[in-house]
């Protein structure tokens, strides 16, 4: 177990290093820079800028400097905003994105899983048809259309909720809904098919043969077994939520990390692009790792593969 964790951490670090190097290289190969603009800057100023951001150093030196700073947790200054650092942007933006993300994930799980379970138990009856219709809808309507629709109906027509911005719980409702629709739909469908498979298993018949009521058999034996494949999907779910947040944060004018990230690409704010990419990569890897640990904890077959006896 400890060896497995160490091995996983080592591969994660290697992958992270690869991502850093690749992103760094791409950033420097790509033409244009944050200070390239239609207006020609006076050469003196350009020199000044280049010196300040060490653009005159050889590339390998810039790279090792960057890695060195990174190891100390310093992602460098922003090119675009004079007095901001990448660390500062992440510190400001990430809590907002994380709050929104957690809301969306909770919503997706709290609605998606029960919907999937009920669908499977009422297979081919109206609760199943209804929730699968909604799931297909959530699956096929892109987040930004849903966001626009919600805004139009709930904020503009009905005036129930504030249309945008961030800070109050009421402002969180629409973005969380828009963000959770896709993973919710996916979870519902996944849980449904997983449940259907489990419900047909022999051990479910054994559970009933013991005298358990239908409800107990489903709760104790079916849900637990059906949920394991769903858990292994949670890592991907987190990634889906974060990519979704790039769009949703922009639509609802939420000062989250996703919004800064998208803006930094438009601004060619290299250090921000680089820093936030690395941050996201590390974060998602960590999430996947935690999910795998949880999976091992829940499914004894994964946990104890090497203890099998005959």
């Amino acid at each position: 177990m400890a060896r497995y964790i160490l091995r996983r951490l080592a591969t994660m670090l290697a992958a992270l290093w690869l991502i850093i190097t690749l992103t760094f290289t791409i950033m420097h190969i790509a033409p244009g820079g944050p200070f390239a603009s239609e207006k020609k800057l006076p050469p003196a100023i350009l020199d000044n800028i280049n010196a300040r951001y060490h653009f005159n150093d050889p590339l390998w030196k810039q790279y090792t400097d960057y890695l060195g700073n990174l190891l100390q947790g310093d992602l460098g200054p922003s090119f675009k905003y004079e007095n901001r650092t990448v660390n500062g942007i992440i510190k400001d933006g990430f809590p907002v994105s994380a709050t929104l993300g957690c809301l969306a994930i909770s919503l997706a799980i709290l609605v998606g899983l029960p919907a999937g379970i009920i669908s499977a138990l009422r297979r081919n009856r109206w609760p199943d048809y209804l929730s699968m219709f909604l799931a297909n809808l959530g699956f096929s309507v892109p987040g930004f259309i849903l966001a626009g629709l919600l805004m139009y109906v709930l904020a503009y027509r009905l005036d129930l909720l504030p249309p945008a911005m961030w800070g109050t719980p009421r402002q969180a409702v629409m973005p969380a809904l828009a963000l959770s629709a896709l993973p919710m739909a996916f979870l519902a469908r996944l849980m449904r098919s997983s449940m259907l498979e489990v419900l047909g298993q022999d051990y479910m018949r054994t559970a009933r043969a013991k005298g358990l009521s239908e409800r107990l058999a489903v709760w104790r034996h079916a849900v637990r077994n059906a949920i394991t494949p769903v858990i292994s999907y949670l890592g991907t779910l987190v990634a889906t939520i974060f990519t979704g947040s790039f769009v949703v944060e922009n639509i609802f004018a939420i000062p989250g990390l996703g919004r800064y990230y998208v803006a930094s690409i438009g601004d060619r704010d290299y250090t921000v692009i680089l820093g936030v990419t690395i941050f996201y990569a590390a974060f998602l890897m960590l999430m996947n790792f935690l999910v795998d640990l949880a999976y091992m904890f829940i499914d004894p077959r994964v946990r104890l593969v090497d203890r099998k006896e005959v």
Binding site: Y203, A209, G211, D299
Partner: protein, 337 residues
């Protein structure tokens, strides 16, 4: 012998897209208190469905009990509401399924799976239940029982898993145990051990057992009475010795002919019955076995034979037993013209 279970004219159908499958077509038999009977027949003849009907576990839809009754200790289980059936399942009637690999929950320890049935049917404390679970594992002869309690099914061998299933089934001291091909999925050496265990436990607990199998070799040492099913019907039943020594139905003879015998010389090939069982969506008129029967007569394809038998309880449904049949078998008929 007092009757514990009495099945009367049981019919079970499954609706499928191809049509109505008549899985069980009017089966009647009874099992006495503490009696060991065997239900044998080729694959698909309705043995498991008969067993599941007794448990009230016919998957519905697509299955349903069309008619008939299942009297257990004097009460008709077919009419019992689900709530009442739950109290009987696992307590008064239990079942062991064929495949211990898939019949145990993979994410629950063996101990918890045994404890579950105990806590469902008794009000004992947690400690008492844990102690009982351990005792049961000892009873079914598992090595290192304390350790097994905490292990998951995938950590146990096939034989151990089937022992856990047996422990679970016997946990509440049922009056009737149905063993649906308990050894089919196991290695040959383990098969013998499991049958020995069942035999021993039956002797100790006095539980009535219905052993379902298509392996006649395991029947001989275990069951007092054998019932032979074919295409959803009983075709022959009788005391094990009589049935083995002088089978009345050509199907039974065929089955016995396909059992390997230790005393026969190796060069004699095993006979198996030619042909396949009929389609249960539209079973043939008359005797369902006639298309495969080497002794079929004209009447066999026209009319169904009734179960007829002698005073020893050996009976069969075959026109050859009719007094007017050529080479009529000398069984004294009861209720025959």
């Amino acid at each position: 012998m007092e009757k514990l279970l009495e099945i009367d004219n049981l019919r079970v159908h499954f609706s499928t897209c191809a049509g109505e499958v008549q899985a069980v077509r009017g089966v009647s038999f009874s099992v006495g208190q503490g009696e060991a009977v065997a239900l044998v027949g080729e694959s698909g003849c309705g043995k498991s469905i008969t067993a599941l009907s007794v448990m009230g576990l016919i998957p519905s839809p697509p299955g349903r009990i069309v008619c008939g009754s299942v009297y257990f200790a004097g009460e008709d289980l077919v009419l019992k509401p689900e709530r009442e059936m739950e109290k009987i399942r696992g307590k008064d009637i239990s079942i062991i399924f064929q495949d211990p690999m898939t019949s145990l929950n993979p994410t629950m320890t063996a101990g918890n799976q045994i404890a579950e049935v105990l806590s469902r049917h008794s009000r004992e404390s947690r400690d008492q239940i844990a102690a009982r679970a351990l005792e049961l594992l000892k009873l079914v002869g598992i090595s290192q029982p304390e350790r097994r309690l905490r292990q998951y099914p995938h950590e146990l061998s096939g034989g151990m898993r089937q022992r856990v299933m047996i422990a679970m089934a016997l946990a509440c001291r049922p009056r009737l145990l149905i063993a649906d091909e308990p050894t089919t999925a196991l290695d040959v050496t383990i098969q013998a051990q499991i049958m020995e265990l069942l035999q021993e436990l039956r002797g100790r607990t006095g539980t009535a057992v219905i052993l379902i199998t298509h392996d006649l070799a395991v029947v001989a040492g275990f069951a007092q009475r054998v019932m032979v099913m074919y295409a959803g019907k009983l075709v022959e039943s009788g005391p094990t010795r009589d049935l083995f020594r002088s089978p009345l139905h050509p199907y039974t003879s065929g089955l016995l002919g396909s059992v390997p015998r230790l005393d026969s010389s190796g060069d004699k090939p095993l006979r198996s019955i030619a042909g396949r069982p009929p389609d249960l969506i539209s079973p043939p008129r008359g005797c369902a076995f006639w298309p495969r029967c080497s002794m079929a007569m004209k009447i066999c394809s026209l009319e169904e034979p009734e179960m007829t038998g002698d005073f020893t309880g050996h009976s069969a449904a075959c026109w050859l037993m009719h007094p007017q049949a050529p080479g009529h078998r000398g069984v004294c008929e009861i209720g025959e013209k």
